[in-house]
Amino acid sequence: MANLDIVKPENLVYTKTKVLTDATMHYCPGCGHGTAHRIVAEVIDEMGIQDQTIGIAPVGCSVLAYNYFDVDFEEAAHGRAPALATAAKRLNPDLFVFTYQGDGDLAAIGTAETIHACNRGENITMIFINNGIYGMTGGQMAPTTLIGMKSQTTPRGRNIERNGYPLRITELLATLPGTYFVSRQSVHTAAAVRKAKAAIRQGFENQKLKKGVSFIEICSSCNSGWKMTPVQANKWMEENMFPNYPIGDIKVDGKLVESVDINRIVVDHPLSVVK
C-alpha cells in the first residue's frame, strides 16, 4: 500500500514549519488554535522574519503559545497584549509585532486595550481567535457567545434579556480610523486555512506600510467546550457561527468593504442540534 519510494526529500511538498517547535501542543484534539499557530508560523517562515518578530501571548487556552513558536515572545497580563505590543513596536519600529488572543482575552477583559490600540492606529498585527466561549476555564459564556447557545453559565442558552447580544468586536474595530486591514477567517477546511493564511500574510506585510492595525479574526471551534467531536464542532460552527460572524474581509486598505453590512446582527437564527 505505502509508496515508500515516493518518500524522499526531493518529493516533499508539505511538512511542519521550523518556526514551530517540536513541543507537543497542550490543546485538545481538533482545536483550531493548533492550525492558527501553524499558519502564523508559516507566514513568519515564508517572509523570513523569524529573528525580527516579537509575539505577545495572551491569557487563555493559548497562554503557552510561547512554548510553540520559535520566535521571541512576551507574556501579557490578561487582556493587555495590545498594550504590550504597543510598547514593543514603539521601541522596535523595524521589528514585526503580533498579538495572539482569544475572545475572552481580547473581547472581554481586554476590550479597553484592544479598542484604544486600534484607535491609536498602532502599527501591529492582531490575531483574534473567536470560539464563542471561555475555553480554558471550562466553557462559560463569553461576550461572543451566540444567542441561544448553551454554555456552563447559560445552560438554557444565551438569553438577550438577561445576557445581552453577542459582541461583534471585529465589525466594531473596523469602524475605527486606526485600523487598516480587518478580516474574519476560519480554519475549518483546507480552503479556509489557505485563505486565513493569506489574510495573516497581508496583516504582516501591512506592518511595512506603517498605516495602522491589521486585525485578523479566526473563527474556531471549541469542541470540548461545545461538547462535540471535532468534526461535528466544525460543522456546527459553519451552520451557526457563520450567519452571525460572516467570513471575509471587512476593511481593506483602510476602507470598509462595501458589500459588508457591519450593523447586521442575527437574533432569530435557530441553532442546530448535534445528534
Binding site: 500500500m1 511538498v13 481538533g30 493548533g34 475549518h188
Partner: protein, 72 residues
C-alpha cells in the same frame, strides 16, 4: 497529468481528532484501531489513492502530517 502522493504521519504526536479523515478528498485516511503512547487512535494512510493534495496537512491542528508528491 496525474500526481501520486504519500503522507507520513508522526503517530506519537497525533491526537486522533479525525479532521484529516474528513478533509481527505480521496478517502484514503482512517483512524487506526491501535493507539499511540497517549492513548489516541492515531490516523493512518490506507490504500494508494493519495494524490498529494496536502488537504490533510492543512487542517491538521498538530502539524503531524508530511506530504510527498510525484508526477506520474
Amino acid at each position: 497529468m496525474a500526481f501520486k502522493g504519500q503522507i507520513v504521519i508522526d503517530i506519537d504526536r497525533c491526537k486522533g481528532c479525525g479532521l484529516c479523515v474528513e478533509a481527505c478528498p480521496m478517502h484514503v485516511i482512517e483512524l487506526s484501531k491501535h493507539v499511540n503512547g497517549k492513548g489516541y487512535n492515531y490516523s493512518e494512510a490506507t490504500g494508494d489513492g493519495c494524490i498529494g493534495c496536502a488537504s490533510c496537512a492543512m487542517v491538521c491542528p498538530d502539524g503531524v502530517i508530511s506530504v510527498y508528491k510525484v508526477k506520474c
